[in-house]
Symmetry: C2
Subunit: 757 residues, 2 copies
């Protein structure tokens, strides 16, 4: 289907301002009367605060406020950035008397300058009563362990999902393959750390400028944390310098609001890079046991997985992340017999939360490495093994019982086979000092959280008197191109060109409620709200023109701000004239404006495969990725230019996940050993391989224009595709990432030792 | 009828912030990167610019932009702040090659500081070709006069409205009384002068922070003046430090926008007090001839009026002001035979525009002084003469043919008679050096501009998840208490208390369209939009509760955020719980939000009478007002506290009009002789007499809660009530205001001379 605005490479609405440095981030909103906040963090991993003395800090000239656990509301809240308020335990206080990880909040200061605030922190005397601490989830849930949150046994969740008879399935199978895998803790590392300015208003309300991805959710959480009416919390999302899920949670706003309310002045709180790494949420480290029963022809008859996730010191998204993984575990390769057990443990490590693709990169690392291990054991082509078992259009998704209505992953594998010259190059060089091979990995990802989560998006379109328009949306631009995509959808549905639509976004007082940027939900859920609002406006514009032009509505359309006769395609008049008269007539002046809320009732999948061409230096263990092909079925691509950028960014992130990134905790102290960008290695543009993107454009009938999720899926599979290539090249079953030269070289050495024994 | 929120003395929503100095006016929004603008004004009253040299000014370090007529769009626009774009001639350019009054724009500079901009002005060389100029409208419309605007003959409008046979009426009359009157030019003198900051945005749009009373109208005018799509003009009204109609017009924003667009930087333009007096619009000076035929019993049988108004150099509201006067001329004392001719002339005096009560103070000065002159000639009680002829409930308003459905003016006169001890004190002391008497004057005022003007107001109410609410309105708080009144109406209609409703206002991107603050229309028109939006929300809240509670909607109500059973008045639950569930349920999460546009189809009248107790010092001519009683039927009073304040302000303004204020033009040059607050005398609080306010609360069935207009009416009649008292005290027929000591003393001297002849 040919569209006028959808599918075209529009330049980003926010692009020029960002390139010129004119876009306003939170830090650009600082005013002279704003206080600067600094946080005193716990130096110990688990302790009760026996005493805290802030007298000297309070006496320091220039200090406006010092807050400790004695000064903030006693009740608990959850800062988890999703709209299911009861799904996550309220286990946080703004400042607690107990610290649960190195870096936990002990006190906070607001002062005239950041330097004074920092100096004041050093004047605070704290006496800790230390408690046993745990960094590994197995230790934390062991009997007799000290409880990090009382009454939990340190187990945040324990869920089993199964169908069929998995033991019977394994009995039938010709092969039963079992593996264990572990993924590292990594961090989002946005260019902009978590940051907010909270302004206490004269009327008792607060204005919160923040880089939060989910302003309406942040508003609710602030209402709970501060015990204020929600309408008195005004959250304004500034431009976001990278979020990736780390800014989905309301991490620092309640503390900053408490400071601002106590000071009666605006307060600015910006995490340092080190604080960001301690505090800005992490990706859950997960231990997987996975077991699969396969028939000789490659048909999988039973799958079993046991996942134990480390959520760190507070729940955040905690167990829901593994629940999400469960969804795709059951969806991508449907089998008759399945058993999945997910457990999530509290530990005393930094708090894990939402991070791009929300559990699926961990899951997919385990399952797709496992698939390659199975193929190796069966001596079967990894592509063929996958094709035999992949979900297809028309199948029912076993996880949610919705029929899969668009699924291009089979085509994608065949396309990838051709693009990569797979049949000739899969194991092109598997001996000698430099080994080279191709790896592949498939993935699937849902459109949003329904039916497990509540889904709602709002949009309001108002036609201005000259036929231009204002579109107010609740969804969030966080660098992914959301604003431009929404404008294209609005233009397509209204007939008003992209450049004539002004966008209003990020302001909870005036933007329709929407849960915000996560779950790659916006183009799907929020995009539909935009389409419905724009369609309602178009219908009313046509009806108004119909009366004015004495022509049946069914014969009229709005195209490029012209009223057009659909029979002849002849222009009948200017939209501006029609709207102007509608607005300025004497008898019934009216404005065309529609505010629409939308909630979906099905949930399709985005699918794809990633291929990696990898060279391994056996002498150094260095993995040199020559090229990555990302092949994605994200339905209709709204904007090919921003979509390709999104894939590049995802590959970037997963490349770091597979090869470089890991947050290392000192087992003796719980401190992060690499809490800075010198020691925490993440890829730069110079590290990146050649990337090729292929969109397999199927049509999802439940989205605005056949589009599907694209935000997170590109970040899922590159890591495991690289791992699979490295396994083929080296013959070593790598079960942990990142594949640092050290890890690869040690494994090669171990294999060499074994060969020599 | 008893209301829960309407009729109660709520403290102003904007009060505390204003008192504390925390409210944000435009000047509070200055940022470091903002340029400062200064305007070069014409020193001559009428000229063509032969040449203008700005090279030296442009070369001055720190000057960013210098604009002359050569640099701005050539097309013309009208800056008139009303929603009838075609009713006012487009006779302005941002900068024209011709100047039409002393002070007209010749050039403008934007520079790093105001001082540099001011210095740059002095470096601009201009050569003028002077033209004849006119300050009196009679001279301007005389044959052969130089045309100020080509093709107009300097006559902006000439309208006749009549019915019956006025000549026949005069023939029947027992008495025919004829008078001439003249009113002065006065200025609004808001504490804050006209001011704006225009920010050119990266996407080509502009953000305009302004003190304009009518943001949506300002947006349209800027679109026309700058030839930009309307949606690219974002107008944000800051707090307004007094408007009084002077900030209804878009006076300086197009010039400031032209500077900002040329500079590519924000520009701040704030008029000095002197500029404000030249530039900030004035009240039209009007020459009246009025003639009335009366029967012996006091029944008026014919009325005739000829009004000639001076609109100054540009049309602004020009002729519409006299047309509005025509409406109340025919309404207050309906007669069988009437003739009204209104002419409005261009002159080379400062531009007259909208000013509080829009022509009615001028009209009422003439007609109510005339009524007293008639009563004197007939030796009849002035109250009795009025009562004989006043319009009554049930009458048809001859001006618009609507039946008058609430009119308490008869009661008011009798109440005033008692309150003032009129029968004993009307002429308590009319001999000697200190004379004392009571004066009275009646007035009427319409609710809004329909059916002569387009009327529309918008409001959007959104219920937040905890049962609090956000109300977005297009109407403007300009010091009159609008915001608080709208909150009371919203609370009354929704059942959500005032303190739980957050207000959003003044922002054209996100507030529903509304024509803004003029014509005292907001409580009537905008208030109804607010009521309808709040009622729609309440209905939906009840319907949602009905499903949740399994109870018929008709048995439920929302009161103080509780769901109440209307039969027992028992609480059935908390509104917050109902709304929260509506918003966060899994299957159909929704937000309750209604955006409503309203336009009226009738137009009632606010009526009243003012009594003045006056002592005249015959030796000095000083008029000492002892007390003023304002008796007003403004229907239901929404907020008695702010309403009384509004009346006090109106009395203040009319007191100055009657006794002190007049803009004096030098006939030789056209320059203002008193363009500053030392020489232009306006009353201070120390000048004010005792004031007593009496509200006669009738019920207007077409407004939200029976309320009627109250913004402007209090400013109509005090001046003429004072004049009538002075006439009774002195026996002198004063035909001009202000009654300065000089004017009164000269008239007394003249009378003494005549008596001595």
């Amino acid at each position: 289907m040919a569209y006028e605005y959808v599918g075209k490479p529009y330049a980003r609405r926010d692009g020029v301002a960002k390139v010129r440095g004119e876009a306003k981030y939170v830090a650009d909103l600082l005013t002279d009367d704003t206080l600067h906040a600094k946080v005193l963090h716990s130096p110990v991993a688990h302790a009760r605060i026996k005493s805290i003395n802030v007298e000297k800090a309070r006496a320091l000239p220039g200090v406006a406020v010092v807050l400790t656990h004695e000064d903030v509301p006693a009740h608990v809240y959850s800062g988890t950035g999703h709209p299911a308020p009861e799904d996550t335990p309220r286990d946080q206080r703004i400042i607690d008397q107990r610290v649960r990880f190195v870096g936990d909040t002990v006190a906070a200061v607001a002062a005239e300058t950041a330097e004074i605030a920092q100096k004041a922190l050093r004047l605070i005397d704290v006496e800790y009563e230390e408690l046993p601490f745990y960094l590994d989830p197995h230790d934390a849930i062991a009997p007799g362990a000290e409880e990090i949150h009382e009454g939990t046994g340190n187990l945040l969740g324990d869920t089993v999902f199964d169908y069929g008879d998995v033991e019977e399935g394994f009995k039938q199978a010709d092969y039963v393959v079992e593996d264990t895998f572990k993924t590292p803790i990594v961090v989002h590392t946005p260019m902009e750390t978590h940051v907010s300015i909270v302004i206490p208003e004269t009327d008792g309300s607060i204005t919160v400028h923040t880089s939060n991805q989910c302003p309406h959710v942040c508003r609710r959480i602030l209402g709970v944390a501060l015990d204020m009416p929600v309408s008195k919390v005004h959250v304004i999302r500034a431009e976001i310098g990278g979020g990736f899920g780390g800014k989905q949670d309301t991490v620092q706003e309640p503390l900053n609001a408490a400071l601002a309310l106590a000071a009666g002045r605006p307060v600015f709180l910006e995490f340092t890079r080190e604080e960001e790494m301690y505090y800005g949420r992490t990706r859950h480290s997960v231990h997987f046991k996975v077991k699969t029963g396969v028939m000789k022809d490659g048909t999988i008859v039973a799958r079993q997985m046991d996942a134990l996730s480390n959520t760190g010191a507070y729940s955040s998204h905690g167990h829901i992340v593994l629940m999400n993984a469960m969804g795709q575990f059951s969806a991508l390769y449907p089998v008759a017999n399945m058993h999945y057990r997910a457990r999530t443990a509290y530990t005393n490590s930094p708090v894990a939360g939402a991070m791009r693709a929300y559990g699926i990169p961990q899951l997919t690392f385990a399952t797709e490495a496992h698939m390659d291990n199975i193929a190796a054991q069966m001596n079967m082509d990894p592509i063929e093994l996958r094709e035999k078992n992949l979900i297809k259009t028309g199948d029912f998704n076993p996880h949610n019982n919705y029929r899969v209505e668009s699924c291009g992953v089979q085509c994608i594998l065949e396309t990838g086979r051709v693009l990569t010259d797979w049949n000739n190059r899969q194991t092109v060089q598997v001996t000698g000092d430099k080994r080279r091979a191709l790896g592949v990995a498939c993935f699937s990802y849902a459109q949003h959280t329904y039916p497990h989560g509540n889904e709602m998006a709002g949009a309001r379109m108002t036609i201005v008197e000259d036929g231009s328009a204002v579109l107010a949306i609740g969804s969030s631009e966080i660098g992914q191109g959301n604003d431009t995509a929404m404008l294209q959808i609005a233009a397509e549905a209204s007939g008003i060109p992209v450049e004539k639509i002004k966008l209003v976004t990020g302001d909870t007082d005036v933007c329709p409620m929407d849960w915000g940027a996560y779950a790659s939900r916006q183009v799907s859920v929020s995009g539909m709200a935009v389409k419905l609002a724009a369609e309602a406006c178009k219908k009313e514009m046509i009806d108004v023109a119909s009366v004015r032009m004495k022509e049946l509505s069914e014969n009229l359309d709005v195209r490029s701000c012209k009223i057009v006769d659909t029979r002849s395609n002849a222009e009948r008049g200017d939209l501006g004239d029609v709207v102007f008269d509608h607005c300025y007539n004497l008898e019934k002046p009216r404005v065309i404006s529609h505010e629409i809320y939308y909630s979906p009732h099905t949930n399709g999948i985005t699918v794809g495969a990633v291929f990696a061409d990898v060279e391994v230096d056996m002498g150094t263990g260095r993995v040199d990725v020559k090229k990555i092909w990302s092949l994605i079925d994200a339905g209709t691509i709204i904007n090919p230019q921003t979509a390709e950028g999104q894939v590049h960014g995802g590959v970037f992130m997963s490349y770091g996940y597979g090869l470089m990134e890991q947050l290392l905790l000192d087992p003796k102290t719980g401190k992060i050993l690499n809490d800075n960008l010198l020691d925490y290695k993440m890829p730069t543009i110079l590290d990146m391989p050649e990337m090729e993107v292929h969109f397999e454009q199927t049509h999802d009938p439940h989205s605005a224009y056949g589009n599907k999720s694209l935000g997170e899926p590109p970040a899922i599979a590159p890591a495991v595709a690289i791992r699979n290539a490295v396994r083929l090249a080296t013959g070593i079953n790598f079960t942990e990432i990142p594949l640092t030269p050290q890890r690869v070289r040690l494994a090669i050495a171990e294999k060499e030792r074994e060969a020599n024994v």
